[in-house]
């Protein structure tokens, strides 16, 4: 643990390690790697039907198209035609059946990207149309499920609801969301000697890409190397998805014996890759006169798309998070994982959690409207207790509850009560412009719910000059993970962070890694790197103690020097001496999260190591004639434990919040009646711009709240939780129109969605 006197790099507001490269445009992304002279460029041919058998796939014209070197279909895949991570139900190329509009059927390698993309358009494919199920609702009605329905029952919801003073039930639709990473999916595969394959892939999960590619090529994992220095954003969209494109590039590379680059253009990327699951949510709740929830039932129908992908774990997380920060003693959850003829939905920051939290927040808001009370009072009434009322529906005891503290502090600093009054006054005097405010909490469970994924490895080398090479299984997608892990190693050796070379994630350096996902990047890799550093450090201490004949406790690393009793020497001098004495200056490190367990058959256990908390207050202005709205001010207080790096953590909080705002307001995925995605580029799919950010934006990290668990320097994960702070904006909009709304506000709260809820006659 950091002490005040130590010159520590932990908790320092260090910039992103690549910041200077970013602003110069010299940070190298996969597409920026200099191309070998004989490189080929690939493109993929997509299904034009949502559900059909492939009667005839005539690619003769594609083969004849200028510049085309190779064309492959499912039959050309040497090994397994699958990139599904959990179930083998995701064909790399469709063989006889297409199950969504945009599914890949064939791939082309040509001398230029434009030649490949144009060639693809000359395919002639005969389809036999089959009935398509497009929405979660339609799938649920047809009992079309991709995975078995999961149920969680805790207490007796039925009788609790029946005996409650008030009952409410309702239904709300919650839209999906495209990750819209700025850098699209990309892989460059280069054939190496003896059938091996080296691949630069923009991926959050290099190990999985490695395994999938090996299976597809029918070679072994040892023959496939995946490298990723950085991604231009991931957000979950590069967890299971990149395998398909890496595999296609590799198959084409193997066939042509030339390097092959497959870079999806934006439209193809958005058509082919999975998104956040959209949900249909139904609820019934029973509560007392003050709004205390006595019993609640949720039915979640998620549009999973045509394959399982990660939908099992995602929907589990919805079940784990439909309590958010509230004690729900009697609850029944049914989670339907709907199979639809749409793209297979996948991971996206929050991983199902946001949908569960949206559901309970919606119910709380409806209770408040029904009782004509401030929703915040209903929230407070139902918060988890500190000493009691602290068991989740899945029977985990909450030991680190700070939601009371966060909400109280934020209520004060944001001047919530006064503004609430001011808003009421404003609304009374304004016919068409209405303001609204909402304070919403976040409690998010940290750990992969699949136990085996909670492990990580790292590799640290120290060279003779004292410079340090750091590698670990985590990937950099902008979140600053590499910076944080370098801080850890710098801290252990007490050297400057710039002494540490941060290197590309590489499956040949650290094997069998988990995806950089579930907010776990620093928790897992930070600990693994710390262990590697500590192993080397212990050797150095032993060596120094031995050499200078002093007790090991008197060897101290500080300020880039090593203090050995009364004398001291520069860090690099000790390193050189250790080298000369034949001390190993390299080590791996390994970490697995302790204390977690979960029994899927009963849906009980301790799936989470700890919880991250936060809360946001947002105020909006709604134009009730058009439904358009503006976000005026947002105050956030967020829990990062002992922040490893407040600059990076604030960046995660603000960015996550705005991504949540986009999900719930302007980002709308529209599919045609034929199942074709119509919003597949930024011209039609609207992510937030800088004018959507609140001009008055006050973000703070909760002080003096070290993680109760022994995480890396007692910090907390911060990748996903802030996304759910965006809920405050949705509920502020709902608040603004509450006096003139006569139907349920659907998400996203586009202008149209807002106007739909407003009474017809509010003009006259």
């Amino acid at each position: 643990m950091k002490t005040e006197t130590q010159n520590s790099h932990i908790g320092e507001t260090l910039g992103h390690d690549s910041a200077i490269l970013h602003v110069r445009g010299s940070a190298r992304f996969t597409d920026d790697i200099r191309e070998p002279r004989d490189i080929l460029h690939a493109a993929i041919g997509l299904s034009e039907y949502a559900h059909a058998t492939l009667v005839q796939v005539d690619l003769e014209k594609v083969r004849q198209a200028p510049g085309v070197i190779a064309v492959i279909t499912a039959k050309d895949i040497p090994g397994a035609n699958n990139f599904g991570a959990v179930l083998a139900d995701d064909p790399i190329l469709a063989d006889t059946l297409v199950e969504y509009h945009g599914q890949a059927i064939f791939a082309v390698a040509a001398t230029s990207a434009n030649a490949a993309r144009k060639a693809v358009l000359s395919a002639s494919i005969n389809y036999q149309d089959l009935p398509a199920i497009l929405t979660a609702r339609a799938a649920a009605e047809a009992h079309s499920y991709i995975l078995p329905t999961e149920k969680l029952d805790s207490g007796d919801s039925q009788s609790a609801i029946d005996s409650a003073c008030h009952q409410l039930s309702g239904e709300v639709n919650l839209g999906g969301q495209d990750q819209f990473y700025m850098e699209g999916q990309i892989a460059i595969a280069t054939p190496e000697e003896q059938g091996a394959m080296q691949i630069y892939s923009s991926t959050q999960h290099p190990s999985e890409v490695q395994h999938i590619v090996a299976q597809a090529l029918n070679i072994q994992s040892k023959d496939v190397t995946i490298i990723c220095r950085r991604m231009g954003g991931g957000f979950g969209g590069k967890e299971s998805q990149p395998s398909q494109f890496a595999a296609l590039a590799a198959i084409l590379a193997q066939k042509t014996k030339r390097p092959v680059k497959l870079r999806l253009d934006r439209d193809t990327d958005m058509r082919v890759t999975g998104k956040r699951h959209d949900f249909n949510i139904r609820y019934t709740v029973g509560f007392d006169k003050l709004g205390l929830i006595e019993g609640i039932e949720f039915k979640f129908s998620a549009r999973c798309g045509m394959s399982a992908d990660l939908s099992g774990a995602i929907n589990d997380r919805t079940m784990f998070h439909c309590d958010n920060a509230y004690y729900l003693p009697n609850i029944s959850i049914q989670s339907y994982r709907c199979k639809t003829n749409t793209v297979s939905n996948t991971a996206f920051r929050g991983f199902g959690g946001p949908q569960g939290m949206f559901a309970i927040e919606y119910v709380i808001d409806e209770i408040a409207r029904y009782l004509n009370k401030d929703p915040l009072s209903i929230r407070r009434k139902n918060f988890y207790g500190i000493k009691n009322r602290n068991i989740t529906p899945y029977q985990q005891k909450i030991r680190d509850n700070v939601i009371w503290r966060i909400v109280s502090e934020l209520q004060t600093t944001s001047d919530y009560q006064q503004r609430k009054q001011d808003i009421a006054e404003f609304n009374a005097n304004s016919r068409f412009q209405k303001r609204g405010i909402a304070l919403t909490p976040v409690k998010f469970g940290i750990s992969f719910t699949a136990l085996h994924l909670n492990q990580a490895g790292a590799l640290v080398h120290i060279y003779q000059d004292g410079s340090i090479h750091l590698n670990h299984g985590g990937t950099e997608m902008g979140q600053g993970l590499f910076t944080k892990v370098a801080q850890v190693v710098a801290e252990e050796f007490q050297v400057r962070p710039d002494l540490i070379k941060i290197t590309a994630t590489d499956t040949s350096k650290v094997p069998n890694t988990s995806a950089t996902a579930a907010s776990s990047g620093s928790d897992l890799n930070g600990k693994a790197a710390q262990q590697a550093a500590l192993i080397i450090k212990a050797r150095l201490i032993d060596f120094a103690a031995d050499k200078y004949d002093i007790h090991t406790s008197e060897v101290i690393f500080k300020d880039s020097r090593v203090y050995i009793g009364d004398q001291s020497l520069p860090f690099e001098d000790l390193i050189n001496q250790a080298y000369m004495a034949r001390i190993s200056l390299s080590s791996t490190g390994f970490y697995r999260t302790p204390k977690i367990h979960f029994d899927r058959t009963t849906f009980t256990g301790n799936p989470f190591y700890y919880f991250s908390y936060g809360a946001a207050v947002s105020e909006v202005l709604v134009d009730t004639l058009t439904g358009e709205h503006r976000l005026l001010r947002t105050d956030i207080l967020h829990d990062c434990g002992n922040s490893l790096n407040p600059a990076l953590d604030i960046g995660q909080i603000e960015g996550g919040f705005m991504q949540g705002v986009g999900w719930l307001t302007s980002e709308e995925l529209c599919f045609s009646d034929q199942g074709e995605l119509e919003t597949h580029a930024p011209s039609t799919y609207k992510v937030p711009l800088c004018s959507d950010t609140p001009e008055d934006f006050r973000v703070n990290i909760l002080r003096h709240n070290p993680n109760k668990e022994n995480t890396i320097y007692r910090s907390k994960a911060v990748g996903e939780p802030p996304l759910m702070l965006g809920l405050s904006v949705f509920f502020a909009i709902k608040d603004a129109i509450s006096s003139i709304a006569n139907s349920a506000l659907q998400a996203p709260a586009t202008p149209e969605s807002v106007l739909n809820t407003i009474k017809q006659n509010h003009l006259s």
Binding site: G15, H16, S18, A19, I20, L21, H22, V23, R24, G25, S26, A27, F29, K61, A65, P66, G67, K118, L121, S122, S124, F180, Y181, M182, E183, R230, G232, G233, D265, R266, R431, G478, L625, T626, G627, E628, R630, G655, F657, M658, Q659, S666, E668, C670, E678, A681, K686, P688, L689, C690, S691, T693, E695, P751, E752, L755, N756, H762, L763, S764
Partner: protein, 524 residues
């Protein structure tokens, strides 16, 4: 076009080099293809990988570059931001190009905007960052201070998916304060560092360097490039893919001779059809080098806007006459798009949702059309014949737009409604123009985009309003008539019901504000 149709690979044009200035050097591009964009040229040919492709349609800003052009008096360089993905390579002829690599190198220190972004943690994944750097660099070069609202406008074409923008906006607000810290003390003449020199000229005013740049740019601008419509080329049209005439007369004769010619103004639509649909245009004729068409002539009766006038040029002119349109114009495209897109392009591509059209319809604008040497003037209201179909005849082109000057006691409003405030396409766009003395003596013009296959006046609703005393009751009746008058479509931007409802509500808003300007708003 039929996407199934097999197309030949782009042909190489060899007959004329494109010449532009990049980092203090003249670049002659001899080999380029008909479909090549500046972005492709930068990344693939020059290996300048700092400029990124995020969407290839001018909507994300990852490819933002800054372009310089000689001012009319040839005494200064005018800079503007542009999306390299939409910039058709030959249109760079005679221009100066700045990319993120122009701002410094490994040797030199960071430019103030770069420094400010680093200090304010304005990058996370870094993919959008070069685009933000270039937008801010443009602002830095053009202003000596800035404010929050201005930054929103300048950055309206840049998407960042990581930061939530606050850190970037802070970087913009504080960038000037890094000027002194970055510009080193003037290096003494013996010890000149060329890198530092170049970089200084970019960081702040440096007369010598600007003069050098100016001289270079002057050399770059050649009178004849792409303008010659040589006899041999007339005889072998297959050789010809691109022309950039320098006079309206030349343009008129090309258009007359070559019915297959496509006029290229800003290229915000043509660029997308090139990058996304691989459309090959037999002959593109660029209007951006014709000085006469870049003029705005204001007389006592009308404002005449040449067909090569960009939105960035015309918006300030219109705002000085109609300041009430400020909020509307703020939502009209992003800055890099406004910098290249023209008002004429907005009219001629005949989209049902062109944002300027309802306004121009309400202002009773006319179009001056030209065939060869003959002209005709057509009311804009008669220009649209059907979905993406105009009254333009073969050999004819739009020379200018005539907008009458402001009338007495006129109320004007134009509203845009879309999913996102900035850089979005309208679900509904509306304009209203009311001349009125009192509640019973008035005349109104109403026009909508997004409500029909073409932008259209609401004549039945206008008639009703013109013939009735205005009060809350008649306004509601007018809204009902409006509902009957249009049958909008449903698409991913909005449903038909929403469009109808909003069209009526906007009429309500306009009339209510005109009739009851001083009445305190009634409580809901």
């Amino acid at each position: 076009m039929n996407p199934k149709k097999k197309q030949a690979l782009p042909k190489t044009i060899q007959h004329q080099p494109v010449r532009f200035v990049l980092d203090g050097e003249l670049i002659d591009v001899n080999d380029y293809t008909t479909n090549q964009t500046l972005l492709e040229y930068l990344r693939d040919t020059l290996q300048r990988k700092g400029t990124k492709e995020g969407c290839a349609e001018g909507d994300c800003g990852a490819c933002t570059v800054v372009l310089g052009q000689l001012s009319e008096d040839k005494e200064s360089i005018q800079l503007s931001t542009s999306n390299a993905c939409l910039q058709y390579l030959p249109t760079l002829d005679g221009k100066q190009v700045f990319t993120v690599e122009s701002l410094g190198s490994e040797l030199a220190d960071l430019h103030p905007v770069q420094r400010s972004l680093v200090e304010h943690h304005g990058s996370q994944c870094g993919f959008c960052t070069p685009g933000f750097v270039m937008s801010l660099f443009w602002l830095y070069k053009n202003k000596t201070q800035t404010c929050y609202q201005e930054l929103l406008e300048v950055l309206s074409g840049n998407i960042c998916r990581c930061t939530g923008y606050r850190s970037i906006l802070d970087a913009g607000l504080h960038m000037y304060k890094y000027a002194s810290s970055v510009i080193p003390t003037v290096p003494n003449t013996e010890d000149k560092n060329p890198e530092a020199e170049k970089w200084m000229s970019l960081a702040g005013p440096s007369p010598t360097q600007n003069n050098a740049n100016l001289a270079l740019l002057k050399r770059c601008v050649r009178k004849t490039t792409f303008a010659q419509y040589a006899q041999e080329e007339r005889q072998d049209p297959s050789k010809l893919h691109y022309l950039a005439p320098q006079s309206t007369e030349d343009l008129a004769s090309i258009v007359l001779d070559r019915p297959d010619a496509t006029l290229l103004a800003g290229g915000t639509d043509i660029g997308v059809s090139i990058t996304k649909a691989f459309t090959e245009f037999p002959l593109l004729v660029y209007t951006g080098n014709i000085k006469a068409l870049k003029k705005i002539n204001i007389t006592a009766n009308q404002t005449e806007v040449g067909s090569a006038v960009t939105l960035s040029q015309i918006i300030p002119t219109l705002l000085s006459e109609y300041p009430e349109l400020e909020d509307f114009f703020k939502r009209f495209a992003s800055l890099p798009i406004r910098n290249i897109a023209t008002l004429a392009g907005n009219i001629c591509n005949a989209s049902p949702v062109g944002d300027s059209i309802p306004l121009l319809l309400c202002l009773d604008s006319h179009l001056k059309l030209r065939t060869g040497n003959s002209h005709r003037v057509l009311p804009l209201s008669e220009f649209y014949l059907g979905y993406q179909k105009t009254a333009l005849q073969t050999g004819e082109f739009l020379e200018s737009i005539q907008i009458p000057r402001r009338g007495q006691s006129a109320h004007l409003a134009s509203f845009k409604v879309s999913k996102r405030h900035d850089q979005d396409i309208s679900a509904v766009c509306a304009a209203f123009y009311l001349k009125h003395n009192d509640r019973s003596e008035h005349s109104i013009k109403i026009a909508y985009g997004g409500m029909a296959a073409i932008p259209k006046r609401a004549t039945a609703t206008e008639d009703f309003i013109n013939n009735n005393h205005l009060n809350t009751e008649t306004i509601l009746q007018a809204m009902n008539i409006l509902k009957q008058e249009f049958t909008p479509l449903s698409d991913f931007r909005a449903s038909a019901e929403y469009r109808s409802k909003v069209a009526g509500n906007l009429l309500y808003r306009f009339l209510n504000e005109v009739i009851y300007p001083d009445t305190p708003p009634a409580t809901a």
